[in-house]
Amino acid sequence: MLKRPTYIVVSLVVLLTLIVLNLPSHTKGRLKLGIGSLFLPLLGLAGSSQHFTGAMVDRVAPPRGELLRQNEAMSREIQGLRFEKLEASALSRENARLRQLLGWQAQQPRKHKLASVVLRDPSNWWRSIQIDLGSRDGIGANQAVVSPEGALVGRTSFVGLTRSQVVLLGDPNCHVAALVENESRDNGVIGASGPMDSGFVELGYLSRNADLKPGQLVKTSGLGGIFPKDILIGQIVDTQPIEYGFGTVARVKLAVNLDALEEVWVVEGQ
């Protein structure tokens, strides 16, 4: 049988939990970021330990000959990229001129901000990360986040002064309007995935006549206003009919490895 002090302590804990759970969402968000900011000194420590590990790895770096070969390959790649950049800028100028002739509104180029991934969600129920950019750096809630290769990663949710939380693709709170690059341009919504399949997501809300084949690319459709159009999400792996054949759901292999993210780009100006 529990004693009277035990009942008092139990009541206090339950009361505290109820109070915290029922706080207004903005107060809860601020409290969350406030408590989370206590970890900021440790983030520096984690960063320096990573640098230390990097330095240790550098000590056992490949031999000089290998480095020279890599250097040469990179130089060739840079030359190729320079040439492509020249071509792209020429195409961009041509595009702007044609838009002007047709009277179309010019597209604003998207701005990106590079952020480092500092923490991951410690619990197994969600798929989110924390990045080292916040409102001080011009980041707001619901901005698209892409990988260094340009594939979609997720969107920002809570934004603090110096860091932000990003909900990743496959999290139950991250839904993305997507379209399949096929002739019928089928539209669907990327939803949650299983707890163990971080490399796959489900593309739902597809029509039963959707012409889907494995290997077709899936990109953002731009609907919904959060994610800009034409950001690569992944490619179709397989499909299956649902709801007695009235709909179709497709499994999509993500173009980005969400477990190995170290840097991400936050897309601005949407």
């Binding site: 804990v13 969350k32 995935s193 707890p195």
Partner: protein, 183 residues
């Protein structure tokens, strides 16, 4: 338990949450992150008073939820209940037996995970669920079972290192002193 041990316990909870968020090597290998907080609650349940258990649950839960997409405060009650369950039957538990520590860690880790999941579903949230959740629960429970004895070893070592050692009892007794000489 003195104030130094309580501070150490709180510091350990803080570092444990940070480790879980910053290092995801185990998550990549096993598919689930191990939670150290239930193991700390078992230690606190066996060695600390009820106010310390409540404060540790609140502190650990808030730290965990602040770095997670969990609703803030959802982890407090499961952690506290794990500590309370151990505390209320600690006279019957063999605190120093590693097997007992393993079993308690296993039960606490599984219980905390299931209670958190239950609370999330009850409060209208939709966490990641599927057949893989069973594997994640197994990994979390097994991890908690292994971490709990390590927790006891660590805190016992810290206790010995940072506290004054108890003075060894001498065999001297004043009533058995043999007085020599004439005085």
């Amino acid at each position: 338990m003195n104030w130094l041990n309580t501070i150490l316990l709180f510091g350990a909870a803080f570092l444990a949450v940070f480790w879980e968020a910053a290092f995801s090597g185990l998550r990549r290998v096993l598919g689930a992150q191990i939670d150290f907080l239930p193991a700390l609650m078992v230690y606190a349940g066996l060695c600390a008073g009820l106010p310390t258990i409540a404060l540790l649950a609140a502190w650990g839960g808030l730290c965990l939820d602040s770095l997670s997409a969990n609703p803030l405060g959802i982890s407090i009650v499961p952690l506290f209940l794990a500590g309370l369950a151990v505390y209320s039957s600690r006279e019957l538990l063999l605190r120093d037996q590693p097997f007992a520590q393993v079993v308690l860690g296993l039960a606490a880790s599984a219980g905390v995970s299931l209670l958190t999941l239950l609370l999330l579903l009850t409060t209208g949230h939709t966490p990641l669920l599927g057949w893989g959740t069973l594997w994640q629960l197994a990994v979390t429970s097994a991890g908690g079972a292994l971490v709990t004895p390590a927790c006891f070893i660590l805190f016992d070592w810290l206790h010995q290192s940072l506290n004054h050692r108890r003075a060894a009892e001498t065999s001297f007794r004043a009533d058995r002193e043999i007085r020599r000489g004439r005085g």
